[in-house]
């Protein structure tokens, strides 16, 4: 027993150190005075100031945010619809094909997705004149397509674990399916929708390869700028950017986890209360 738990604790410690030490070092060296990223030259926040003066970087960040918000929103709608059809609609014509198309983007190498979408956009452009030139729109479509696969997984697992009796009760009381869905199912899916949206937002904000393929000269996303400057060598500015991104991600996740945990507890409490009232306690 003793050796086993020692082994497990050290496995955990090693795993988490492996995952977190590089990120911590990035953060520490973002406050380094020296331009050399690996030699400590005293505390300074000058790289943050430099980052906010870098107009190319700021512009790219705005493009990335725009793409991420739009594609996460569309992907959440489409991914939820697909999850609904996978869990609730049983067998329909073409189910097998649909299952393939909705799970394949999860593992498809990015270079293939990027290349194939670019060739689609080019062909469409020569055939019907849309999309004329490539930029924010084409990146948004590309991101929506792979993000909806992730939303589908998240919502599908939530939907499968959902208690259908509440929904059925609403319909027995005369609610139409659409209304029952809007009033009962959608709020219960809430946490899954939030995490699906956040996941899509992050994936979109993070994508380099697919965006590089489908972006025309008109649009440059943040990862594309970061990649080209990293290729030239490492700069403390990137460390500052990394620190900000890690900070935003951590805060968002903690808030989202907290809110979802609280909502879940309130919902459970309401259900217990309702059940108790029914029993006449």
């Amino acid at each position: 027993m003793g050796t086993r738990s020692v082994f497990l604790v050290s496995a955990l410690a090693f795993g988490f150190a492996f995952l977190y030490v590089p990120i911590l070092l990035l953060i520490i060296f973002s406050f380094n005075e020296s331009r050399l990223v690996t030699v400590w030259g005293g505390f300074s926040t000058k790289w943050y100031a430099e980052l906010f003066r870098n107009e190319q970087m700021l512009e790219a960040a705005l493009v990335s945010l725009r793409v991420a918000v739009t594609s996460a929103t569309i992907a959440t709608v489409l991914g939820t619809l697909s999850a609904l059809m996978m869990v609730r609609f049983g067998r329909f014509r073409g189910r097998l094909l649909f299952t393939g198309m909705i799970t394949a983007p999860l593992v498809m190498p990015e270079v293939i997705t990027g290349l194939s979408l670019l060739l689609l956009f080019v062909s469409l452009d020569t055939m019907i004149g849309w999309p004329a030139g490539r930029g924010v729109d084409t990146i948004t479509i590309a991101h929506t397509t792979f993000c909806m696969a992730y939303v589908n997984v998240v919502v599908q697992s939530r939907l499968a674990g959902l208690d259908r009796s509440v929904e059925e009760a609403a319909m027995d009381l005369g609610a139409r399916p659409f209304k029952a869905f809007m009033v009962i199912t959608l709020p219960m899916l809430g946490p899954a929708l939030v995490s699906g949206w956040l996941l899509s937002f992050t994936l979109s904000l993070d994508d380099l390869v697919i965006a590089s393929f489908v972006a025309g000269p008109a649009a440059t996303t943040l990862p594309m700028v970061v990649f080209s400057s990293v290729r030239l060598g490492i700069t403390p500015e990137i460390n500052a950017l990394a620190t900000l991104l890690v900070l935003v991600a951590t805060v968002t996740i903690l808030i989202a986890a907290g809110v979802m945990w609280r909502q879940e507890r309130e919902r459970e409490r309401a259900v217990t209360k309702a059940l108790r009232a029914e029993r006449g306690d």
């Binding site: 496995a11 198309m101 689609l120 062909s123 970061v226």
Partner: protein, 338 residues
């Protein structure tokens, strides 16, 4: 009514007509005879929209692009817009001439660069998967056996790196591994080495980068199966005199097989086509197929050859992708059944 709906699960055999009937029944609550024509139409329309919109989206933006890649892989390179020859040509008299150039595929087979790149990608992806499994399995096991409140914290810690930029996590290793990086500086300061060890742009840094980036994908499915496992089975084995290690080998390991398969596929498949990690951490002589495709497309601007590389990569990945999908399907059905 609930019976009706349950029969609609993937395991059921309800026909389309029955499905529609159940859906319209649901629309009328208990008494479906009172349904008006209009209500039935809206219900059918609702179902049509739910199925139609995502279906059309994926047909247009997922399936059609692959067909186009397939088509262009049979075209020839030319200088112009678009930079490939058309497959179909209208001849006089209403004939259609189809020109399939298999030259791109022959080129891939004959040039040792491509064959080496494919084999090397498979090798790197395979060993990365093994390393990720070796690190990830004990982690997932320890998390699954922790107390519920610790479990939540550990899971959050596994997921968190996934939410921070992938590119930046790869970038972090450059500062650690390069010649005047943190490891070399520390080792030289301790006097253990005189000259910096070549760590960056080697196979070693390539593996570190891939395992590091994909570790959460390995841990999460493993955790999911290990957490669901019935611990009493292990206790029974130990009560019957089985040594802990043997109990692990004969009970836990086989039961966690679905997690091992899913996690391995989630690491292996994207790793084969990885571009960013070999480009930033791998050496100049690191040949991986994703990198080859990238340079064929962006540097040589040869779209037909890039398409042929993509199709060949897909053929290589079809078996693992089918295994992965089969597993996903089973998971979904099991979640519904429980």
């Amino acid at each position: 009514m609930s019976e009706d709906n349950r029969a609609l699960g993937p395991g059921g055999s309800a026909s389309r007509a029955e499905a529609e009937q159940a859906w319209t029944q649901a629309g009328g609550g208990g008494d479906h005879r009172r349904l008006t024509r209009l209500q039935r139409l809206t219900a059918r329309f609702g179902r049509g929209t739910v199925i139609g919109v995502p279906y059309l989206w994926l047909l247009l933006f997922f399936l059609l692009p692959f067909l186009i890649v397939l088509k262009i892989s049979f075209a020839e390179f030319r200088i112009g817009v678009p930079p490939y020859t058309p497959l179909l040509a209208w001849l006089e008299g209403g004939y259609i001439q189809v020109k399939l150039a298999i030259g791109n595929y022959l080129f891939l087979l004959q040039d040792p660069l491509y064959v080496t790149a494919y084999l090397n990608s498979l090798k790197v992806a395979f060993f990365s998967t093994v390393f990720a499994l070796l690190i990830g399995y004990p982690m997932a096991y320890a998390i699954a056996r922790a107390s519920p409140s610790w479990r939540a914290v550990f899971l959050l810690l596994v997921i968190l790196p996934f939410w921070t930029s992938f590119l930046i996590r790869v970038y972090a290793w450059i500062g650690i591994l390069k010649n005047n990086g943190l490891i070399n500086n520390a080792l030289m300061a301790l006097g253990l080495i005189d000259d910096p060890l070549p760590l960056l742009n080697t196979e070693f840094s390539l593996y570190v980068g891939i395992v590091y980036s994909y570790l959460p994908f390995m841990v999460l499915p493993l955790y999911a199966t290990l957490e669901r496992m019935d611990v009493s089975l292990l206790e029974a084995a130990e009560d019957l005199g089985c040594r802990p290690f043997k109990a692990f080998l004969t009970v836990t390991l086989p039961l966690s097989m679905p997690g091992i398969v899913a996690g391995s596929m989630l690491v292996f498949i994207p790793a084969v086509g990885e571009f960013v990690i070999p480009d930033l951490l791998g050496g100049a002589d690191t040949l991986m197929i994703g990198k080859v495709l990238w340079s064929e497309f962006f540097n040589n601007r040869d779209w037909p050859v890039a398409s042929a590389v993509a199709i060949a990569m897909l053929v290589l990945l079809v078996i693992p992708i089918v295994i992965f999908q089969h597993y996903q399907q089973r998971q979904a059905e099991r979640a519904e059944a429980s």
